[in-house]
């Protein structure tokens, strides 16, 4: 077993385990931080698959994102500390079944599809970063720009929705 296999397995397991913890813990802050560590483990998984830029970016982006998640969890949950051990789920059986079926189907696809020849080596990290930059600002520029504009629109829209409706309706 190569080191790469080991690390992929290890970080994959960690990511899944933290993912499960998200829905198992009663404390909402723990839940948000479990999601953070799940995503961080994925970042490490990317690193062990030699996708250096993506891995580091994932580790960086998710930390801020999930920290913000944590504060919203505390705001919007009935029992953020989880001391009441209340159950906040519904249609549990259906969800479990759906989750399991999705998992099984995806695994089946992974196992039974012929993925074709496997490439041995990836380009080194500096080359990858360079290629990605060229790709982003060359062929995929339109998609990249669209994504940028979309995120800006989403930011503005979200802010507008979230702002208090001061005198907006009142003036009609």
């Amino acid at each position: 077993m190569s080191a790469q296999t080991f690390f992929i397995g290890f970080f994959g397991l960690a990511a899944v385990w933290f993912g499960v913890v998200v829905f198992r813990t009663h404390s909402m802050v723990r839940s948000a931080l479990a999601l953070l560590f799940s995503q961080t483990a994925l970042g490490a998984l990317f690193l062990s698959m030699q996708a250096e830029f993506l891995g580091v970016l994932q580790i960086m982006m998710m930390a801020t994102e999930m920290s913000i998640m944590a504060i919203f969890m505390v705001m919007f949950m009935m029992d953020p500390g989880g001391l009441g051990e209340m159950d906040m789920t519904h249609q549990k059986r259906l969800s479990l079944a759906a989750g399991f079926v999705a998992f099984a189907a995806a695994v089946a696809a992974a196992v039974f599809v012929d993925w074709g020849p496997v490439a041995g080596v990836a380009p080194d990290a500096a080359q990858q970063t360079h290629d990605l930059g060229i790709e982003l600002l060359g062929r995929s520029m339109l998609i990249f720009e669209t994504a940028g504009v979309t995120i800006l629109t989403a930011m503005i829209a979200a802010t507008a929705v979230a702002m208090p409706a001061v005198k907006r309706i009142g003036n009609k």
Binding site: I8, G12, F100
Partner: protein
């Protein structure tokens, strides 16, 4: 069949399953968003794995992952915007109480 590719894909599948379970079973909007984040994360794992083991020379695959990250951020922004607005109006982001959203 490459072991590493399989491991990565199974990881993706497991995250996908957990995410589906979370998105369906949780009653709170924020928790549902967490489920969706996991589903998107699963997609990212698969994309990276395909890039690494099938097309390591295609930079477009990496760009695709960046797009998924953007989608995650957008989902967060819009989700929280809606959550704040609902919380302000109704004092709750529980889905059981969002009858009027069903349309």
């Amino acid at each position: 069949m490459n072991v590493e590719l399989l491991l990565a894909l199974v990881t993706g599948a497991a995250l996908f399953g957990v995410g589906i379970y979370g998105a369906l079973s949780q009653t709170n909007l924020v928790m549902i968003m967490m489920g969706v984040e996991l589903i998107l994360a699963a997609a990212m794992v698969n994309l990276v794995a395909f890039w690494r083991y099938l097309h390591p020379d295609a930079a477009a695959a990496q760009m695709f992952v960046l797009i998924v990250m953007t989608v995650m951020a957008i989902e967060m922004a819009v989700g929280f915007g809606v959550a704040i607005a609902r919380f302000r109006a109704r004092g709750s982001v529980e889905m059981e109480e969002a009858a009027e959203l069903k349309g």
